[in-house]
């Protein structure tokens, strides 16, 4: 059934929304975080999963979204307008940066994408007059009851999740998706076959950015305060690709599956093994690379049962 995965996504989104009925704000917050990270993972999927470009820029787009959204609100824009502005600015930024950065490949692209995060963070910090610099920025608060605020942001994050899920579906089945997969396999061949690799890559990069920007803007409004270290957190740039890889990069449901599992694992680890948090995330990553190189969704159960080692995806060729 062509739309099976879309149906699953929508059902999952509804399930997340229904957490609000549990009358437990903490559970609602967790559901919101799941939706948020799923959105980020799907965003990364465009450039990292489909096109195969190892981008570590998630934090840059998220952070920029935070700041543009926050600044918009500080200067009097309504919340939806501020968020919209964030999307536009992050989109434009990613298009500009992408044009330059996507000329690099492999290692160099990865390094460049990490550098972008640091650069953005430093730039934001160096204009304290505008952004508050290292002292951070207070965002005008949504002054509703905690239950209402919790519900609002759950709805917002789930909506963004559905949107990015839909776009993923559309892209996967479109010429763009096909082109990106070709680029992933062999970019030079794709170029020769007539695919405009530069344009496709930039589109993928922009797609990977705008949802991050939207999430960032929403996050800023939710927390009421942002500072450069929170907004441009390089740990996020690693966690998000890991979530997508965990579920299965380039698949339709992979990022969603990966982010749920990762976040729940984190919660469990964090509640019970306070001191070993980082190590547990690290362990997940190591296990992921060795046992699940293609992600959970591509696990070949029959292979596991007969103890055949997984053929790694890069050994395909």
């Amino acid at each position: 059934m062509k739309f099976r995965s879309l149906a699953i996504l929508i059902l999952w989104a509804l399930a997340l929304l229904s957490v609000s009925l549990l009358q437990n704000n903490y559970a609602m917050r967790t559901a919101t975080m799941i939706a948020m990270f799923s959105t980020l993972a799907y965003s990364w999927n465009f450039i990292g999963g489909l096109a195969g470009y190892p981008s570590f820029s998630t934090a840059a787009f998220f952070g920029l979204g935070c700041y543009v959204g926050a600044l918009g609100q500080v200067h009097g824009l309504s919340i939806p307008s501020a968020w919209f502005l964030a999307v536009i600015v992050v989109g434009a930024f990613s298009a500009a940066i992408g044009g330059i950065l996507l000329r690099l490949r492999g290692h160099y692209f990865a390094v460049g994408s990490i550098a972008i995060v640091e650069l953005c963070r430093l730039l934001i910090t160096s204009i304290p007059g505008l952004t508050g610099g290292g002292s951070g920025l207070n965002v005008p608060l949504v002054r509703w009851s905690p239950d209402a605020v919790g519900l609002l942001f759950l709805v917002v994050m789930v909506t963004l999740f559905i949107m990015v899920g839909l776009v993923t579906q559309v892209v996967q089945r479109s010429r763009l998706g096909f082109g990106l997969r070709c680029i992933n396999q062999n970019e030079d061949a794709a170029e020769m076959v007539g695919i405009n690799t530069t344009a496709y890559k930039i589109v993928a990069y922009v797609l990977s950015a705008i949802f991050c920007g939207a999430v960032g803007a929403a996050y800023a409004s939710w927390t009421g305060y942002i500072d450069p270290n929170e907004a441009f957190n390089s740990l996020m740039s690693i966690k998000v690709p890991v979530m997508a890889l965990l579920g299965g990069a380039g698949t339709l449901l992979g990022p969603a599956v990966g982010s749920v599992i990762f976040i729940l694992l984190e919660e469990v680890a964090w509640s019970n093994f306070l001191e070993w948090n980082h190590a547990i995330v690290g362990l997940v990553v190591v296990v992921l690379v060795f046992c699940l190189p293609n992600g959970l969704l591509r696990l070949n159960f029959s292979n596991i049962l007969t103890l055949k080692p997984a053929r790694r995806i890069w050994e395909r060729v």
Partner: protein, 396 residues
């Protein structure tokens, strides 16, 4: 591991107690026990836990006609702002705490206070002192540290009166809420007394090498050098100052020498004659309510229990819950709004000094002790009532 065990035992105790239908006063605390602020977070934790133990040893807090024990529910938010918000929601919704204690770090205090305000839960911060944390109109946020405005005025006055040739001030500040605020206030205080600010730069969090900035500072020939930041920054700063031969008659670090780690970190030679200003010092002769009657009581108890001297962080964080104690006893209830109102009108004396929250929730201005390391000991230069030394020049 210890924490795990203690959390388990607290949980067991809680279930057993609830099975026996005994009430407790639950206070929640998000702590930075790992991550960049862990050093300071642990100090906070140590002080709070000590308070809980002492209070429970005395039977608890008087709520009307009952005496109820206190339970401290802690979580480590890993110096991560998002987690801080998450934990605050968890404490309120899942652990059902009545009151909160804010974490270390002005930014994280803001985040947790935002959540607390939404739920109308009183929250006291023992370590935030910047106006910007308290100026959002949050009626549920209180702070036991006084505003840092008064911090720098006292310093500037004292230095100018003891060394009238102090005319040029150079400031190097960490770009972070508290250190930057101190720097800004210092510049203001200095200018008000006719001292020129000949150098004023910020450095990013995590800067390892300050030599260029310090070289530039050297070129400005200051009489008074002020460095602000957290412990590791200041230790580096002092060391690198000496590396390039930068010195001045007065060298101040905020908070620097007020904390033993700084002195141990730079070594006795470099720590000599560095000045600092702080919110509390054990030599101050305060008396008041709470588990410790006087500053000396707290100092001795802390030293015995932890084999180390307490600093102002320990003191402020042990004092913050005393405010809750007083408020609860006054209102004879655990109702959050009543306690909040009581807090806003509170006026008590403690071993830490007076606790009287002003309009914006900050503790009233107080005499800030000015300290100087002399012969590897911390001496007090001000206020006169407790001063035991005179200001000395820095000679290297």
């Amino acid at each position: 591991m210890k924490r795990y065990v203690s959390l388990i035992s607290i949980a067991l105790l809680a279930t057993v107690s609830s099975a026996m239908a005994q009430e407790k006063i639950k206070i929640g605390s998000a702590l930075a026990l790992t991550g960049g602020l862990a050093d300071e977070g642990i100090k906070q934790a140590v002080a709070q836990r000590m308070w809980v133990r002492r209070v429970n040893e005395a039977g608890g807090i008087q709520v009307g006609d009952k005496k109820l024990p206190v339970e401290l529910v802690e979580y480590d938010y890993q110096s991560d702002g998002n987690r801080a918000a998450q934990i605050t929601e968890k404490l309120i919704n899942v652990d059902k705490v009545s009151f909160l204690l804010a974490p270390y770090g002005s930014g994280h205090t803001k985040i947790t206070a935002t959540v607390a305000e939404r739920y109308q839960v009183p929250i006291i911060s023992c370590v935030a002192s910047s106006e910007s944390v308290f100026n959002t109109g949050n009626k549920y946020l209180f702070g036991t540290l006084a505003s840092l405005n008064s911090l720098t005025d006292a310093m500037a006055h004292l230095f100018q009166s003891k060394m009238p040739n102090t005319k040029r001030l150079a400031i190097l500040a960490r770009d972070d809420v508290f250190p930057k605020s101190v720097a800004d206030e210092a510049a203001k205080s200095a200018k008000a007394l006719g001292i020129d600010v000949v150098y004023f730069e910020l450095y990013a969090t995590g800067t390892m090498d300050q030599t260029s900035a310090l070289s530039a500072m050297k070129a400005s020939k200051p009489d008074w050098i002020l460095g602000t930041g957290y412990n590791q920054d200041l230790i580096l700063l002092r060391k690198q100052m000496s590396d390039i031969g930068l010195t001045a008659p007065i060298v101040s670090m905020v908070i620097g020498p007020a904390v033993r780690d700084f002195i141990d970190g730079v070594g006795p030679s470099l720590a000599e004659n560095v000045t600092a200003v702080t919110w509390w010092h054990q030599s101050q002769k305060f008396t008041g309510i709470g588990p410790w009657r006087t500053s000396a009581d707290f100092y001795n108890d802390f030293k015995k229990e932890n084999k180390a001297e307490p600093d102002f962080v320990n003191a402020a964080c042990a004092a913050a819950p005393i405010a809750y104690q007083a408020a609860i006893e006054q209102t004879k209830s655990l109702d959050r709004n009543k306690v909040r109102d009581a807090l806003s009108h509170l006026d008590i004396q403690t071993f830490y000094g007076r606790i009287k929250f002003g309009q914006n929730g900050m503790n009233e201005a107080r005499d800030m002790p000015i300290l100087q390391v002399q012969d590897n000991e911390v001496k007090v230069l001000y206020p006169p009532a407790v001063a035991n030394a005179e200001l000395r020049r820095v000679d290297h």
